[in-house]
């Protein structure tokens, strides 16, 4: 059972805070929470909204239909009223367009409250949004205790502001008495070991826990959240976040950090990632560990800066001139984002190569509740030779030929008698420039061997959900994971026999599970891009042509219903 609430208004009206506070209250009360953001590329004005879906079971997708609309301006009413259920309620800041509003929304309750006036009464116009929090809690039949705690924590640094907010909360709660609509909330109890986290935070946390000591980046929406997460904690963690002069510097700084022996990482969105690709190939040939996160947004070029898409897949896989080993992971949700980032940093060091994490704005900004990550299940992979080993080396070969293509890794200064030389030219075992054909071939093969080893030892097959025998097989990668799960359930409820196969590791492409499951079923690829890139990747690696492709490229994430409808329309009907 779940409820849906949308908060809408313009940039600068405090929607982010309102969303955070409300989500946290619901989370702390024991609900499963799933909150998404839809915002424009501007700082004030325009139209933004946040949807909070919550209930007593795990939630994995946003929903269009809403029980409650909290409209902070007139546009919010106009844009969202049609999505409010017949028995829903629309709350807004009492204005003069009352009449028309009521006419268009005969069945819904409309609750108008002059929160601004109440806030002014309290003595600070900026607490108006908190009045609405009070209203909502009343309608949901929740008590004020948790809310007071959350506000207390949020405003802990200013006693007076905290007091006014709690005042506002109570006023809202009282005023809502007159509203007729009440929602029956399921019984939930706060669970101890849960966290509330979004995709960008999960990646930042994964990086920190993996021991990343240096994050260099240049701001770019929607990737800046990763940088902010780490920057905010750099003093506590004793690590460095440095804003580079541009993205080329960002990735090269990180490569310098890696070469010097510290775990380093960079991140951006498509435009910044584009500028990094020469250095990506350099990491490939020079065999420098590097983790790069690309939080995708709709392109090409500047595109839609604050929106979502999954259209950098083939670019990431094929980025930079020449052939070289590379791993690409498309993270699925905040939980996956955490564990995969942790894994990416370790694999980058194990295989001495670049690993790209593909996230997107949808995942980056979606806040969900999760079981707290279990740190004691995580194993750090140390790719460097030990200091004792280092002492014995008198003629270090950075690119020594070995069975599995992985050469012993040392950092400059680790060996007193040897130096570490890396090179972006084709080179010999010592890292010196070569011109001859034999060494060239041997080095290409050496680098390729690492991928062979990765495929054997570390590549993860996609997750499968569904019955063993299916009539339909949904396929996806990355952040469509959640909506696809719910869509599969909707189809199952209709009596269809549907399986779901979703990939995190996309390059090298794991093909066993796919080849096992794709026969005798109708395969349906669902992607958040215009040209079904993953479908083409599957064909390229297996020759399999997926039967149906469902794509969406309007910059918005999928809802489960949308996928469900598309499948009913394009496939099943």
């Amino acid at each position: 059972m779940d409820f849906n609430l949308v908060i809408a208004g313009e940039a600068g009206q405090g929607l982010n805070t309102l969303n955070f506070v409300l989500s946290k209250i619901l989370f702390k009360s024991g609900f499963h929470v799933y909150s998404t953001k839809d915002y424009e590329s501007r700082v004030r004005g325009g139209h933004n909204f946040m949807k909070i879906r919550f209930g007593d079971t795990k939630i994995t997708a946003p929903k269009d239909e809403q029980d409650i609309l909290l409209a902070l301006n007139k546009a919010a009413v106009e844009i969202h009223q049609d999505f409010v259920k017949e028995d829903g309620i629309m709350i807004y800041n009492g204005e003069s367009y009352e009449g028309e509003l009521r006419e268009e929304n005969q069945d819904k309750e409309i609750f108008s409250l002059e929160a601004a006036l109440i806030a002014d009464d309290i003595g600070n116009g900026r607490v108006a949004n908190t009045v609405f929090v009070g209203v909502l809690l009343k309608l949901l039949g929740l008590d004020l205790k948790v809310a007071e705690e959350v506000l207390g924590e949020y405003f802990r640094r200013a006693e007076d502001i905290k007091g006014m907010n709690i005042d506002a909360l109570r006023k809202g709660y009282e005023k809502a008495e007159v509203a007729k609509r009440r929602f029956e909330m399921p019984e939930v109890t706060p669970r101890d070991n849960q966290i509330l986290i979004n995709g960008n935070q999960a990646i930042g946390m994964g990086a920190a826990v993996a021991g990343v000591q240096f994050y260099s980046a240049y701001p770019m929406t929607p990737a800046t959240g990763v940088m902010n997460y780490l920057a905010k904690r750099q003093n506590d963690l004793g690590i460095v976040v440095e804003q580079a002069e541009d993205e080329i510097a960002a990735i090269m700084m990180a490569l310098g950090g890696s070469y010097s022996g510290i775990r380093s990482m960079t991140g951006s969105s498509g435009g910044g990632f584009s500028l990094m690709v020469e250095a990506l190939g350099f990491a490939g040939i020079a065999e420098i560990p590097l983790t790069i996160v690309n939080v995708q947004r709709p392109g090409p070029a500047t595109g839609l800066p604050t929106r979502t898409e999954q259209a950098d897949l083939l670019f990431a896989i094929n980025a930079s001139q020449g052939d070289f080993p590379l791993m690409v992971i498309g993270v699925k949700d905040a939980e996956d984002a955490f564990y995969q980032t942790y894994r990416a940093v370790n694999l980058a060091e194990k295989y001495q190569m670049p690993v790209i994490i593909l996230s997107d704005q949808f995942l980056a900004d979606t806040e969900i509740n999760l079981e707290a990550f279990e740190l004691d299940t995580l194993q750090r992979y140390n790719g460097f030779i030990s200091d004792e080993q280092a002492e014995g080396i008198s003629d270090y070969k950075r690119y020594e030929f070995t069975e599995d293509g992985i050469s012993p890794l040392a950092y400059p200064g680790q060996m007193t008698e040897s130096v570490v030389l890396i090179d972006s030219d084709e080179h010999d075992e010592h890292g010196h420039i070569i011109e001859d054909a034999e060494t060239r071939v041997a080095m290409v093969d050496k680098r390729h061997d690492k991928i062979e080893k990765l495929i054997l030892e570390d590549l993860e097959e996609p997750e499968y959900i569904g019955p063993e025998e299916t009539d339909y097989l949904l396929i996806g990668w990355g952040s469509t994971y959640g909506p696809l799960q719910e869509a599969r359930e909707l189809l199952e409820e209709d009596g269809y026999n549907v399986g779901l196969l979703t990939f995190s590791d996309v390059w090298p492409l794991p093909i066993e599970e796919l080849e096992d499951r794709i026969d005798n079923t109708v395969s349906i690829m669902v992607e958040n891009n215009a040209t079904a890139q993953f479908s083409r990747l599957i064909s390229s690696e297996t020759g399999i042509m997926v039967n149906h492709e469902i794509v969406k490229y309007d910059g918005r994430p999928y809802t489960a219903e949308e996928i469900y409808d598309a499948i009913k329309e394009e496939v099943i009907d």
């Binding site: 510097a249 570490v420 972006s424």
Partner: protein
């Protein structure tokens, strides 16, 4: 002083006979030796070009990266390791051309790096196109009507942007060059030396003779700590070309000082286990 031979600065090179890069390398080896540095205590970052091949021809730790991108990785090392001596070395095309944005912003950072620019006033490796410092007398295969932008003055640029150590030297003056190198490596902060280096294959204007006739050493009466003098001196070029430390400021905070959270810790020696990060999880509860 260690034996300069430990740097193996007599390795065979792909440079042309007579190239100014060759005596430059010799000076570098001697400077390092005189400073008692072992190969493992020095790391050299370069881009791509003739000059940028240096880490192959001298034994120190080497990072032969991408054209124009020698400086940023050196910053990464400055974060990781406060003890290493860090040298950035590359051609003037690499440094002031493709890599212009990095020198611009790294002067602002003032990292503890010695930056040696081999300034042959030409793109050597790619066979003779104009570089930012190519003079107005020159025509090339890609600039048949001569250069299309006025020459870049690296000394003026660095002094004006507040670099804390700015010098010029010439490979034909070996003792001078060595002294400059040592001073730059010792300097705490960003130290630039623009090193005049003839390209015997492609620069038929700025030859050994051309430079030799023009360069003069700044005397004891020149005070490199006086900014006003320095910014004027920086404009001198043509018939008389000053070599020496043009400007020097001591005590300016360096890049690592702006990251107080790492103090003088060598991050490279710290490795944390995942379980040490429980607090990150608890704050999300």
């Amino acid at each position: 002083m260690v034996n300069p031979e430990i740097y193996e600065a007599n390795r065979e090179t792909a440079w042309c006979p007579g190239c100014g890069d060759i005596p430059l390398r010799q000076c570098l080896a001697e400077a390092l030796a005189e400073m008692d540095l072992k190969p493992s205590q020095v790391t050299m970052f370069t881009g791509i070009g003739q000059a940028a091949k240096m880490p192959h021809y001298i034994k120190v730790n080497g990072f032969n990266g991408l054209h124009g991108r020698a400086l940023p990785p050196a910053i990464g090392m400055r974060i990781a390791n406060p003890e290493m001596k860090v040298i950035v070395e590359s051609g003037e095309g690499d440094t002031y051309g493709e890599g212009g944005n990095h020198i611009l912003h790294n002067i602002r950072r003032n990292p503890d790096i010695a930056h040696f620019v081999h300034d042959n006033q030409i793109y050597g490796l790619t066979k003779g196109q104009a570089s930012p410092t190519t003079g107005e007398e020159m025509t090339t295969s890609t600039q048949p009507n001569g250069i299309t932008a006025r020459p870049f003055n690296p000394i003026k640029f660095a002094v004006a942007m507040g670099a804390t150590f700015v010098a010029r030297s010439f490979v034909g003056k070996k003792e001078h060059l060595k002294a400059m190198m040592k001073a730059a490596i010792k300097h705490k902060g960003y130290a630039l030396i623009d090193i005049l280096q003839p390209c015997v294959s492609f620069n038929k204007v700025n030859t050994y003779q051309w430079y030799m006739k023009r360069v003069y050493e700044l005397g004891d009466d020149y005070d490199p700590t006086d900014y006003d003098t320095a910014i004027k001196k920086a404009d001198e070029w043509g018939d008389n070309i000053p070599i020496g430390i043009i400007y020097k400021a001591e005590g300016v905070p360096i890049f690592r000082d702006k990251h107080p959270q790492i103090g003088d810790r060598a991050l490279v020696k710290e490795k944390k286990e995942p379980t040490e990060f429980q607090a990150l999880i608890d704050e999300m509860k």
